[in-house]
């Protein structure tokens, strides 16, 4: 069997209740695990963008994305490999402040990883690192040695490199259709 590839699926939807369920059941039926997921508004008013990542193969992912796009409330769905997008994730780490103070090289670690400190209290310190998964993972491995108390990583957010904005184009075509229907 070929190695599974990590795909990023971007779904542009109307902002209706229950959309996430509609997407996730399509993946569940094919026993595809969602690695990460984020949802937010996007540039287009009233349009929501859901970005999720999962491992699959090109043939399956194409079928899945077509089935997602078939959902009535979905405007457009796309899938990408990493080379087609600019993407980012953010991770937060909570470490005991006392451990950090004891360490000589804390500053060095934070600098080396280009991380930021978000909050310091007597008790704990929250560190933030933005980057790709291997980068947030590398910091995780280092901070593990300092009694890391909590760790969390966001889903991926991604923007395409393509010069064509396909959703805009889709909406323009749909607007044309609507006007034609109105004229009939």
């Amino acid at each position: 069997m070929e190695q599974p590839t990590l795909f990023t699926i971007a779904v542009f939807t109307e902002n209706h209740i229950g959309l996430l369920n509609q997407l996730s059941i399509i993946l569940t039926r094919r026993a595809i695990n969602i690695e990460s997921i984020t949802a937010s508004r996007c540039l287009i008013p009233e349009v929501h963008k859901i970005t999720l990542t999962c491992y699959s193969d090109p043939v399956t992912i194409e079928k899945v994305v077509k089935q997602i796009e078939k959902k009535i409330d979905v405007l457009k769905a796309f899938f990408y490999t990493d080379d087609q997008i600019v993407y980012q994730e953010v991770a937060l780490y909570k470490v005991p402040t006392s451990r950090l103070l004891d360490e000589q090289n804390l500053e060095e670690i934070i600098r080396r990883h280009s991380a930021r400190i978000l909050e310091i209290t007597r008790d704990y310190t929250v560190v933030e690192k933005t980057g790709h998964i291997d980068e947030t993972e590398a910091l995780f491995e280092e901070l593990k040695r300092y009694d890391l108390r909590q760790f969390v990583r966001s889903g991926r957010v991604a923007i395409t490199k393509s010069p064509i904005e396909y959703v805009d184009r889709f909406l323009a075509e749909q607007e044309q259709r609507r006007q034609n229907l109105d004229r009939q």
């Binding site: 939807t13 509609q22 039926r29 077509k66 089935q67 796009e69 078939k70 009535i72 909406l171 259709r177």
Partner: protein
């Protein structure tokens, strides 16, 4: 004057504005405001009270399938909503347009495990085309108009409106209803590109052994005439899927029968000899393709479908046209050259002859007057006697496979059967719905003794509404189709397939339905004639040979041209028949 109406009334006015005149349903607590309003509208809206919600939804499916209209179902919440799940899944599989309205607890109680609360939207999302919960009366017109638009445009399917009780009761301003024609996120009828048409026309013009497989989508599009025109112009043989049966009359010289596991030998064998398969409005179900790796190895595949997600789902296509079959066919006909494929068409004759000799003769034309009739024989005889334009409704199993095969079709929308889900118990209510939508057509319903009992309560509906369906029970005291598999693949171990049956004519009598039992071949013709002459519903309980098997058959996992003629013999075109 106060111009306010309740949400319930807004729903009913919406239904009427959508042209609905018949709804199938069953009342209960969470939908009572709607039923109360229905009482005021009983002149305009004919409500059919089935005996079970599953009956209501299958009846609506039969209604929709025969008429192209949207079937409407109204039920209450909780157990009633869960009772329609089988029908929703069935309608999704078989692209059947329905609007199903389920009552729901008041919005303020949602999520609290209130009495008869079920997460209807959550359950139905995977088995419906669209599911929406109406929580406020102000959303009703919007939701209802979208529901009807979505259900019966593009690839049809069932839509669920989960109607919270408070929204049924709330008062809103009466406003004229507007039908929905456009949804920004939905393209029911995609633009068909000239370049795609030209490409496919070229492929057709270059082919020497082309075959069309006509599916349910041809009927949904109303493209039967265009199909015939294309086939005749380019001299292309046409086969159909099970749900595509009756897209071409059975006796059309270019019609070569059904493809698939229990299809005809000619089109199955020639699928793997063809150099081009033009698949129109069909989804390459596994019952059609057999082993996909061995499917049509010599052929280019052209796939015409309105649902893009069907392309390359099961079978890789060399060319696709995304669009409505009627538009596509209409526009491609002028691009296709007249042709003659005499030799290729002739190649169907040998398999046809073998099938006649080795399968059909035994299945339909036995002559022992004392013997038990066979299923195919009954179907054939009923079809011949019922004549032009009658509708075949089936249940699932051997009764289905043998009746779809031996019935003859003259006009479109003449086969109502559960294809994708294979729902036993579908037939009786679907026949009721079909007869209600097409009262002037003879509706002949074939069922097994197993399937009949799954929804037998709907005899009550027939009694109440005097629905004149002809019910033919092919009674073998067995779950025949499963028995066939046990005989063929499970060493004859008949685990839980023998079935003791009730006295069907006695049951019929209790419902005031005419009935008789046939036990010998010599009784059959006269009994069929009595059944068809009778004005009302009729049950013909035909005792059939329990050893009856459905052949030809391509066992699962085999190539479509590996065809069993009977348990011991594989179709071999080189051997003398």
């Amino acid at each position: 004057m106060d111009n306010k109406i309740t949400g319930a009334e807004a729903l009913i006015r919406g239904l009427i504005a959508e042209g609905v005149d018949t709804v199938f349903g069953y009342p209960g607590g969470a939908i009572m405001p709607v039923y109360d309003k229905l009482y005021d509208f009983s002149d305009t809206l004919n409500h059919i009270l089935t005996r079970h919600e599953q009956g209501a939804i299958h009846a609506a499916e039969g209604f929709a399938r025969v008429s192209k209209r949207t079937g409407v179902v109204i039920v209450t919440s909780g157990p009633a909503a869960t009772n329609v799940m089988t029908g929703l899944s069935d309608a999704t599989m078989d692209s059947t347009p329905l609007v199903v309205i389920t009552g729901q607890v008041s919005a303020s109680l949602l999520g609290s495990d209130a009495f008869q609360e079920t997460d209807v939207v959550g359950i139905t999302q995977p088995i419906s085309k669209w599911a929406y919960q109406i929580r406020h009366a102000k959303d009703i017109a919007w939701a209802v108009s979208r529901a009807f638009f979505i259900a019966n445009s593009g690839r049809p399917g069932p839509v669920v409106l989960d109607f919270a009780k408070n929204a049924q009761e709330e008062m809103i301003e009466f406003e004229p209803y507007h039908r929905c024609k456009f949804i920004r996120s939905y393209i029911p009828y995609p633009t068909v590109y000239e370049s795609d048409l030209r490409r496919v026309a070229d492929i057709i013009n270059d082919s020497s052994r082309p075959m069309i497989i006509s599916g349910h989508g041809v009927m949904i599009a109303g493209a039967e005439d265009q199909l015939a025109t294309l086939a005749e112009k380019a001299d292309i043989p046409v086969a159909s899927t099970m749900l595509g049966l009756s897209t071409m009359p059975s006796d059309h010289p270019l019609f070569k029968g059904m493809v698939g596991m229990h299809g005809n030998i000619g089109p199955n064998y020639n699928t793997n000899r063809a150099d081009l398969i033009v698949a129109i409005g069909m989804r390459f179900d596994d019952r059609v393709t057999g082993n996909t790796k061995l499917y049509a190895p010599q052929a280019k595949i052209v796939h015409i479908d309105i649902d893009e997600s069907e392309f390359n789902k099961n079978i890789r296509a060399h060319a696709t046209i995304h669009g409505d079959a009627r538009e596509v066919l209409t526009r491609i006909i002028p691009l296709v050259r007249e042709a003659k494929h005499t030799k290729w068409l002739k190649s169907f004759e040998l398999p046809e002859a073998v099938e006649r000799e080795k399968v059909t003769k035994d299945a339909v034309f036995r002559d022992d007057p004392q013997g038990l009739p066979c299923m195919g024989e009954v179907a054939y005889k009923v079809s011949m006697a019922a004549g032009h334009d009658s509708v075949l409704v089936t249940d699932v199993g051997q009764n289905q496979l043998l009746s779809v095969k031996h019935f003859k079709y003259t006009s479109p929308r003449s086969v109502i059967t559960s294809g994708g889900l294979g729902t036993m118990g579908y037939g009786l209510p679907a026949a009721i719905g079909a007869k209600m939508a097409a009262p002037h057509r003879q509706v002949c319903f074939f069922t097994g003794d197993g399937g009949m009992q799954m929804t037998i309560q709907e005899l009550g509906t027939i009694m109440q509404y005097q629905t004149a369906v002809k019910i033919i029970i092919l009674n073998n005291n067995f779950l025949g189709n499963v028995r066939q598999w046990q005989v063929m693949f499970y060493n004859n171990r008949l685990s839980q397939t023998p079935m003791v049956n009730p006295d069907y004519p006695a049951i019929a009598k209790a419902y005031g339905i005419e009935a008789e039992t046939v036990e010998r071949r010599e009784q059959l013709d006269a009994a069929i004639e009595r059944m068809l002459k009778h004005n009302g519903a009729y049950i013909l309980n035909v005792m059939v040979d329990e050893n009856d098997m459905v052949f030809p058959m391509t066992p699962g996992g085999q190539a479509v041209d590996y065809i069993l003629l009977n348990q011991n013999e594989v179709f071999d075109p080189s051997s003398k028949k």
